[in-house]
């Protein structure tokens, strides 16, 4: 699960889920990098304000969150029977499934 945090909350050991770029678009740090004390300091000095990190959640938690999304989607689309809305519903269900369950064993 990807999570966006302010740099003040960054801790060594966290893994970057996305590349970090500076304001001119130059990539400072690649996706997958594990943060260290030094790296965090350097990012702060480079005026980086936020990071997207991998948050570890258990398979059980991932499934639970996915179920919650499914319930929301089903409720919202309950009286939306048009083909356009039905297609949107299917696509969103597929999206949330990928997002939550992609790292969960198939």
């Amino acid at each position: 699960m990807k999570v966006c945090i302010p740099i003040e909350k960054a801790q060594p050991g966290m893994r970057l889920a996305e590349d970090i770029s500076n304001v001119t678009g130059m990539i400072l740090c690649r996706q997958g990098t594990i943060l260290t004390e030094t790296l965090i300091e350097r990012l702060k000095n480079a005026n980086v304000e936020k990071l997207i990190i991998e948050e570890f959640i258990s398979e059980e938690e991932a499934r639970k969150q996915f179920e919650e999304k499914k319930i929301l989607i089903n409720k919202a689309f309950a009286n939306k029977s048009s083909p356009s809305m039905q297609m949107l519903k299917e696509v969103f269900l597929k999206f949330w499934e990928e997002k939550y369950l992609i790292n969960v064993s198939k």
Partner: protein, 281 residues
């Protein structure tokens, strides 16, 4: 009953237009200039540049994540050349309407930013050259809600009461209180402020896409972006979403895989946006 409804719509229109803020002089001046043929971006930037606060607001909007320019745009003139007059006009109005983001406006502003981002994503993935203009249309699609909240608070209060009671969309509550919704007021504002036709259709017809005769894609993209954000941001207790217009997919030639990609990109981009919103405060 019908005659009474008609009178009250006209009366309401008069009231809205009467309560509408006068656009700052600088904005009026720049606007008039942009309606003339062959005006240089340099001249426009000089005129707008006289208002330092306004200039700063516009530059902040342009450099925010929903435009996704990789390099910071430092000068107004550069912005005008890059974005074109229609987009600049939209940004001028945004800066005026969203000048002060007080707490009651926060929700509208956040939704506006997210829609702008999503509309831009859709437009770029469809390779529309007017992507920047469509982005600013996303930012402005609920502009009449701001006008109601700030300049017609008595009506806005009634709408809020209906929303609390029935847990429904703004659109439905507006229709119950006024007999019509924010898209109609958008049209009045767009006409009053002489918006270009493309922006006008995007803002007035994002719920009634079939009425967009000249720029159906603009209206369709805003329609789609609005719905996508509502679905993406669903929370327990507020499971109400607007409808995709039956013509939207057809106008934009949207298929499921494409929709999936848009949602993926939207998800990735909106992470960055969360912090961009705070900067705007």
């Amino acid at each position: 009953m019908s005659a009474n409804e008609k009178i009250s719509k006209e009366a309401l229109k008069e009231k809205v237009l009467e309560k509408l803020p006068t656009l700052p002089k600088v904005v009026q001046e720049a606007w008039k200039l942009m309606e003339r043929p062959n005006v240089s971006p340099e001249l426009i930037s000089e005129v707008i540049g006289k208002d330092i606060t306004l200039t700063a607001k516009i530059l902040r909007l342009i450099n925010s994540p929903f435009y996704g320019f990789p390099n910071r745009i430092g000068s107004l003139k550069h912005a005008i050349i890059l974005l074109g007059f229609n987009t600049i006009r939209g940004l001028l109005i945004s800066s005026v309407l969203f000048g002060e983001i007080t707490p009651p406006l926060m929700r509208i502003w956040e939704h506006a930013c997210e829609c702008a981002t999503t509309a831009g994503i859709i437009a770029r993935q469809l390779n529309y050259k007017e992507a920047d203009e469509i982005t600013v249309a996303g930012l402005l699609h609920d502009m009449s809600k701001v006008v109601l909240k700030v300049y017609l608070p008595e009506i806005d209060a009634k709408i809020e009461i209906v929303k609390q009671k029935s847990l429904c969309l703004d659109y439905e509550a507006e229709k119950e209180v006024m007999g019509f919704a924010h898209d109609v007021i958008n049209l009045w504002l767009a006409e009053q402020w002489h918006f270009p036709p493309s922006l006008t259709e995007a803002l007035a017809y994002h719920h009634t896409v079939e009425k967009a005769k000249k720029y159906p894609q603009f209206a369709a993209i805003i329609n789609l972006a609005d719905v996508l954000i509502h679905v993406y941001r669903l929370t327990p207790g507020m499971e109400v979403i607007p409808e995709i217009h039956p013509k939207t997919y057809e106008i934009l030639n949207i298929f499921p895989d494409f929709l999936f990609e848009i949602i993926r990109t939207m998800d990735r981009t909106l992470y960055n946006l969360e912090w961009g919103i705070d900067e705007r405060k």
